[in-house]
């Protein structure tokens, strides 16, 4: 694995880092000793064919696997600046999820009003001041580029929104609680090209303030939105590097075969 820092003029700060991370569904080893960094205020994309473990890897970062029995982590994911191992037995998954937000493959707004969807994360944290909640909701909707479209109908059900708007609402919902790291699990696979473009544009704006880790099945998307890319295959991390380099001059034959469409 190369040291991408040498090619960049700016200094890279590590926000999170997987260290020899393995993951097991029962006896099946879905991730095989993965080590890679996630750089602060950058977009890192995970690509690879179906079943390569990219979503499994993503869901380790907010301990989603803890919701289901029979799952086991081995290794570490260290979150900076406090050097906390997210997978340590003493770390509560709820604490992890309060610091790391997630946006899912299919937009999953709650069957509540637009306002309540965004306010939910604040309510979960015990915020009770009506004024503060309203401020945060407006800010989050603006950050998700949705405010102008919904400001006059905050009390309407979220399900009246289009698919792309619903996904931006889910992004606003995650942003409302100021996450340090935002996970995207194929966020545009259920959307049309125009909605996809608006989400990609949004991601570009968001990385000024939040670190993004995105799983995508779409290589063009990875090339468009990400600064760093990791190629995974069958639970192994094959190659990690600066996106432009990985797509133009991959170091591994396997990566080259995949991105040139010879396989996958």
């Amino acid at each position: 694995m190369s040291a991408p820092e040498t090619h960049m003029s700016e200094v890279l700060i590590t926000k999170a880092e997987a260290r020899r991370l393995s993951f097991y569904y029962g006896d099946f080893r879905a991730l095989k000793s993965i080590s890679m960094p996630v750089h602060e205020r950058k977009v890192t994309a995970l690509i690879g064919p179906s079943g390569c473990g990219k979503s499994t890897f993503l869901r380790c970062f907010n301990r989603m696997h803890d919701l289901y029995p029979g799952n086991r982590y081995d290794g570490e994911i260290v979150l900076q600046p406090d050097n906390t191992n997210l997978l340590a037995p003493g770390v509560d998954p709820i604490e992890v999820r309060m610091r790391i937000g997630m946006v899912f493959q299919k937009p999953n707004p709650f069957p509540k009003t637009i306002f309540e969807n965004v306010a939910y994360g604040l309510r979960v944290r015990g915020e009770s001041s009506r004024r503060r909640i309203e401020e945060k909701v407006e800010q989050a909707l603006q950050d998700a580029a949705l405010w102008d479209e919904v400001k006059d109908r905050l009390q309407q059900p979220a399900y009246n929104l289009s698919g792309g708007q619903q996904q931006r609402l889910c992004i606003a919902r995650a942003l409302a609680t100021d996450p340090e790291l935002l996970l995207f699990d194929e966020p545009t696979s259920a959307l049309d090209p125009i909605a996809t473009a608006s989400i990609e544009e949004l991601m570009h704006d968001l990385k000024e303030r939040v670190t993004i880790l995105i799983v995508t099945h779409n290589m063009q998307q990875a090339a468009r939105v990400s600064d760093f890319t990791a190629y995974m295959y069958l639970g192994d991390l094959i190659e990690f590097g600066v996106t432009d380099e990985l797509f133009i001059k991959p170091k591994m034959k396997q990566t080259e075969d995949y991105i040139t469409g010879r396989f996958g």
């Binding site: 989603m64 919701l67 029995p69 309060m98 899912f104 999953n108 709650f110 979960v124 919902r173 609680t177």
Partner: protein, 302 residues
């Protein structure tokens, strides 16, 4: 092209034959109920009057009414709901959201489903031994309410679980991903989104309970009663009285049963009228269930 057309025509004939068989099967049920209901309505509707609802039972069929029976049924239903709803809903939520998925949970689940099929007289005998004698609650509204609560508990639990299971996993994951605890997820999502299904289950259970006769007779409800339980609201502080819980009582099906066993034909008309009222009460409860489901589901889509 001819053979294909023949083939299609022959297959469509099977379509028609099945449609007719299905319709006939449906009509057996619908027509039987309609015939019974109309027959009962014809016999009883002449007896329906204001007095019928405000009079106590009497030796004279023309003066006899269902006051003690409908008041008794109403109070027993309130007691039943008071116990069955929180117990059933909590048990359903626990099994669906909290219980570890192992063989102990499986055994409990299978047994709950089986309990729904236990004959009601068995619940009556259990209640007679446990509530009436062991706990010393006597032949009271409280005993009857507890018995019927026990009887419909499996219905409420199963309905709660079905309603919870229909909530997509994506909603739960969305909630947990924001750092919610299990209870916050239940409180803000699971309960509100499943309330329509849960309410429907509760009302269907209650509609079953209101018609139950055997377990109520077993615990010793009176067949002839000419007084009402003490009023729940009093004129002196604390203004609320729960004495009615320990009062003897009768219920609608028992009143009917009592009248049908009389030799005089005039009492049969009373029984038919009481039956008519009871069916209307049940239909009203089911209607309420349908309306509530419609109202509560209007804003919930996924």
């Amino acid at each position: 092209m001819k053979p294909i057309k023949d083939l299609i025509r022959r297959r469509k004939r099977w379509d028609a034959i099945f449609a007719i068989c299905g319709l006939a099967a449906l009509m057996v049920g619908v027509l039987t109920f309609t015939a019974l209901f109309v027959d009962m309505a014809i016999d009883g509707v002449g007896r329906l009057s204001w007095d019928f609802f405000t009079n106590f039972p009497s030796r004279r069929p023309g003066q006899a009414g269902i006051l003690s029976a409908w008041v008794g049924s109403t109070l027993v239903m309130l007691t039943t709901a008071f116990f069955a709803v929180p117990l059933g809903v909590a048990a359903g939520i626990y099994l669906e959201e909290y219980a570890p998925k192992n063989w102990v949970t499986d055994v409990i689940e299978i047994n709950i489903t089986n309990l729904a099929g236990v004959p009601s007289i068995v619940y009556g005998l259990l209640a007679l031994g446990l509530f009436v004698y062991q706990f010393g609650l006597g032949q009271s509204i409280l005993s009857a309410g507890l018995t019927l609560a026990l009887l419909i508990l499996p219905v409420v639990i199963v309905a709660t679980r079905e309603a919870i299971r229909s909530i997509p996993q994506a909603i739960r994951e969305g909630s947990y991903a924001l750092g919610a605890t299990q209870w916050q997820t239940v409180r803000y999502h699971i309960l509100p989104y499943s309330s329509a299904g849960i309410l429907t289950g509760i009302i269907i259970g209650m509609a079953r309970a209101i018609g139950e006769t055997a377990p109520i007779i077993t615990i010793g409800a009176l067949t002839f009663i000419a007084f009402l339980p003490p009023a729940p609201v009093t004129s002196e502080p604390p203004f609320l009285s729960f004495e009615w819980l320990m009062s003897p009582f009768s219920v609608m099906p028992i009143q009917m049963f009592n009248w049908t066993s009389r030799p005089e034909a005039a009492f049969q008309a009373n029984a038919a009228a009481a039956g008519f009222v009871l069916v209307l009460m049940t239909l009203a409860m089911n209607g309420l269930a349908i309306w509530l489901r419609y109202r509560l589901r209007r804003n919930i889509k996924w």
